[in-house]
């Protein structure tokens, strides 16, 4: 395993399976009365979030604390970045205090990669702009694997705002590595430009027709419509989006019995996912949150426990 976790491309199949297996043991710890392991005692990890986040930030913090690492939170508001300090100066300042690692969330694609070149510490990408969000892909895969077993040969539909999604890219890489068939579904305006070449080189399918894809899917991953990143008109009205691409009550009925529903959150209920679907028995949304802590514990363990990296 590489020293940093910046992209899903940093992990090969063996690494992914090791992280998922370790996460299972971590999940057991989560169910215990004493949720504390001494493993990362004496390590200091800084959570640097330059973008708003509830679940990613808190799950990294909980994961680190349960492994006995000292977790420190720095957010853009309230740090010197609001006084105009550059990202480079901010991370180098904090690194100079002698921290072992950074967990970085930033609105600019490639931010984590940049930071890894500026500091000696280990860097974990917790979402960089529209680029990648590797730990989200790992926890999605972990959750689906728990319910569906081995994902090789299964069919996953990823639906929604593909253009603005970092979760999409990480999941595509991860699922391809695990041998899962993927179909991405979106209205033409929310398909990333050049998706055809991407699809043919990476071996996934594209579709504009959600109703045609749903009956063959083993898992449906609904992506959030990211209004905060939308400057132009990507669809006429919310209602029109829901009719074409929302996981509505009617569409829920067309899913296979064993099929599961994922959503990385936060959900726009009534827009991309109806409450009937979000709260259905097939919905893994809360399992994903609970898996988030276990998977991040596993990632922190593999990146920080040893001297160097996984042999």
């Amino acid at each position: 395993m590489k020293r940093h976790l910046l992209s899903m491309n940093d992990l090969d199949r063996h690494d992914i399976l090791t992280i998922l297996d370790t996460a299972e043991s971590m999940h057991d710890v989560q169910r215990r009365e004493v949720k504390k392991l001494p493993t990362l005692r004496g390590r200091t990890v800084v959570n640097m979030f330059f973008e708003d986040s509830t679940r990613t930030r808190s799950s990294f913090e909980i994961a680190g604390k349960w492994l006995s690492a000292d977790m420190i939170n720095i957010s853009a508001k309230g740090s010197s970045t609001s006084k105009g300090e550059s990202l480079r100066d901010t991370v180098r300042t904090v690194a100079a205090m002698g921290v072992d690692g950074f967990v970085i969330r930033h609105s600019a694609s490639g931010a984590a990669q940049q930071v890894s070149q500026w500091v000696d510490a280990v860097v974990v990408n917790a979402g960089d702009g529209m680029h990648e969000h590797p730990t989200q892909a790992l926890l999605d895969v972990y959750t689906m694997r728990q319910r569906l077993g081995d994902l090789e040969g299964l069919h996953v539909a990823i639906v929604g705002d593909l253009t603005h999604s970092r979760v999409l890219r990480s999941n595509l890489i991860c699922l391809k590595t695990l041998g899962t068939r993927v179909t991405v579904v979106a209205p033409p305006t929310l398909m990333p430009s050049g998706i055809e070449t991407w699809a043919s080189s990476e071996g996934f399918d594209t579709s504009y027709d959600l109703d045609a894809v749903l009956p063959t899917a083993d898992a449906v991953m609904m992506l959030r419509v990211q209004r905060e990143r939308m400057s132009g008109g990507f669809f006429p009205t919310a209602r029109e989006y829901t009719v074409g691409y929302g996981l509505t009550r009617e569409r829920l009925g067309t899913l296979q019995k064993h099929a599961v529903i994922c959503h990385p959150g936060p959900m726009n209920r009534g827009l991309e996912i109806a409450s009937d679907a979000a709260d259905a028995a097939q919905s893994l949304v809360l399992d994903q949150v609970s898996a988030g802590v276990a998977v991040r514990m596993s990632v922190l363990y593999h990146l920080f426990a040893g001297e160097g990296s996984l042999s």
Binding site: V34, P38, T39, G306
Partner: protein, 200 residues
């Protein structure tokens, strides 16, 4: 002279049996192993005055197989199934920083839990004692046993910590440069204990 010299805590039995296998000396045969386990199971029952409130926990990987065999013998003798589980100690090791990262094995604690029970930890080889220290730390996160005992197949000496076993299958005097290798049918297809290396 591979991992043994840096006193790796967990397994006195090095599993990579690459070099000098031809010089390996067999110190316990298949029959020896099963006779010794039978005796140890009886000793545990004798000391505990029966099988009540016993929980047997093996330390992965070979300790788990040994724990199962001990419980099997106890069931024959007492007619009662003693709860048996596995206790992974990877996350509690004191040498995590010095070694490449290890995969984690599963911990399984049988249903009644370990509170107010007599826990018997089972491992294949007792060497530095660091594994056992880690196991006791791991136990304290899981509950509060009334007593903790230690059963090992081989005690090869060279302790780094003030730890001793309550039940020993065989005391095996070794040089610290030697390697003790425990093979069990569950993992290796046959039962045998070998000693190799050293004196060079």
């Amino acid at each position: 002279m591979t991992r043994q010299d840096s006193a790796p805590p967990s397994d006195g039995s090095s599993r990579d049996n690459t070099e000098d296998d031809q010089f390996a000396r067999v110190v316990m045969s298949c029959g020896d192993v099963s006779r010794v386990l039978r005796r140890v199971a009886h000793e545990i029952l004798e000391r505990n005055k029966g099988s009540q409130d016993l929980v047997v926990l093996g330390i992965p990987t070979r300790g788990v197989a040994l724990a199962r065999r001990l419980v099997h013998v106890m069931a024959e003798v007492e007619g009662l199934e003693v709860p048996c589980g596995a206790l992974d100690i990877t996350m509690h090791r004191d040498d995590l920083r010095r070694n490449p990262i290890r995969a984690i094995e599963h911990t399984y604690i049988p249903a009644p839990g370990i509170d107010d029970k007599t826990v018997v930890l089972v491992d294949d080889v007792l060497f530095s004692g660091r594994t056992v220290r880690a196991a006791m730390d791991a136990l304290s996160d899981l509950g509060r046993p009334r007593a903790v005992r230690l059963a090992v197949l081989i005690d090869r000496g060279h302790r780094d910590l003030p730890i001793r076993a309550d039940y020993v299958g065989k005391n095996l005097p070794t040089a610290s440069s030697e390697r003790v290798q425990v093979c069990l049918a569950e993992h290796d297809g046959f039962d045998e204990v070998r000693i190799s290396g050293g004196h060079r």
